[in-house]
């Protein structure tokens, strides 16, 4: 079975307080030099059958209507063999 990964990230202009909280904790833990952190979501889809153009189109549709809220989030779809 092929794996398709959908990454969902808040749009750059949307405030990400979770990412900020992580970023603020880094120096406290001794990890310096990180100017910004943004937190996203990763979906790993195990796809039955071939990941052809039609299957990818359906996954794209799934990401757009359900996995991501495109009012606030961007997403990318990539195939991992």
């Amino acid at each position: 079975m092929a794996r398709v990964v959908v990454d969902v990230m808040l749009k750059p202009e949307i405030l990400d307080p979770q990412g900020q909280a992580v970023q603020r904790a880094l120096p406290r833990l001794g990890f310096d030099g990180i100017a910004d952190v943004r937190q996203g979501k990763r979906f790993e889809l195990e796809v039955e059958g071939p990941v052809d153009e039609a299957a990818l189109a359906r996954i794209h549709e799934m990401a757009e209507t359900f996995l991501a809220n495109t009012v606030i989030e961007d997403f990318t779809v990539k195939v991992e063999s």
Partner: protein, 226 residues
């Protein structure tokens, strides 16, 4: 005939009983609706109550939005049926694109629970006609994902068309853009807000204020005059 107000229960809904009670206290016939049923049991209006439907997994309201009952509600709302979304219900309405924008995690990342002052900015919607324009009310607020966001163009449009229905007063509890606590669609039949009017309908409960009852008497007035 008494108006029938339906209240939907999703897995994880918490405030359905309070909403049903508020509808009854206002003089309506409360009707329980189940998320798996497409049938709305001939209700005249629908309340999507607060809670954590589907545990807020994926995004608050994102999974509920695709439930069978929502298929019918979306269709009926577009045809003019009054729908009120409170808290999680508001999140469901934005996910369903019945209202613009989106709800995000509070900017301070804490769950918040307080008595919140609001200004009624639009007393002309199906759910607010019993309030005065500019009236200040106080109702409980409790949420984790209450930060309303939309792009500048949408925000300007909402302001210009008087569709910001409620604004937070004294303090902004969650970082909502332009202090927005609730909005309405262009037709005024669909309203969403984060605070909880259904928890402020009886003098013996909470802060003793009944400021929230106006939502439910408004809809009765609207339905009777329709």
């Amino acid at each position: 005939m008494t108006a029938r107000i339906g209240v939907v229960t999703f897995p994880g809904t918490l405030d359905d009983q309070d909403a049903l009670r508020a509808a009854r206290l206002a003089g309506a016939e409360p009707v329980s609706l189940w998320h798996r049923d497409k049938d709305l049991k001939q209700v005249d209006a629908v309340v999507l109550a607060g809670g954590f439907s589907y545990g807020d997994y994926l995004r608050a309201g994102a999974i509920s939005r695709f439930s069978p009952v929502m298929e019918t509600i979306i269709e009926q709302a577009k045809a003019g049926m009054p729908v009120l979304g409170i808290c999680n219900g508001f999140q469901i309405l934005t996910e369903a694109h019945l209202l613009p924008g989106a709800m995000l995690r509070n900017n301070h990342l804490h769950f918040i629970c307080r008595d919140q002052k609001l200004r009624v900015e639009n007393a002309d919607t199906a759910w607010t006609v019993d309030y005065g324009q500019g009236q200040e009310i106080q109702v409980p607020l409790k949420n984790m994902d209450g930060r309303y966001v939309a792009d500048e163009r949408v925000l300007d449009e909402l302001e210009a068309e008087g569709r910001v229905a409620f604004r937070y007063l004294d303090m902004n509890p969650n970082g909502s853009l332009r202090d927005i606590a609730g909005i309405t669609n262009a037709a005024g039949n669909v309203v969403g807000l984060m605070p909880h009017p259904e928890h402020a309908v009886e003098p013996l409960i909470g802060t003793g204020r009944t400021d929230g009852l106006g939502f439910f008497t408004s809809i009765l007035k609207k339905l009777v005059n329709a």
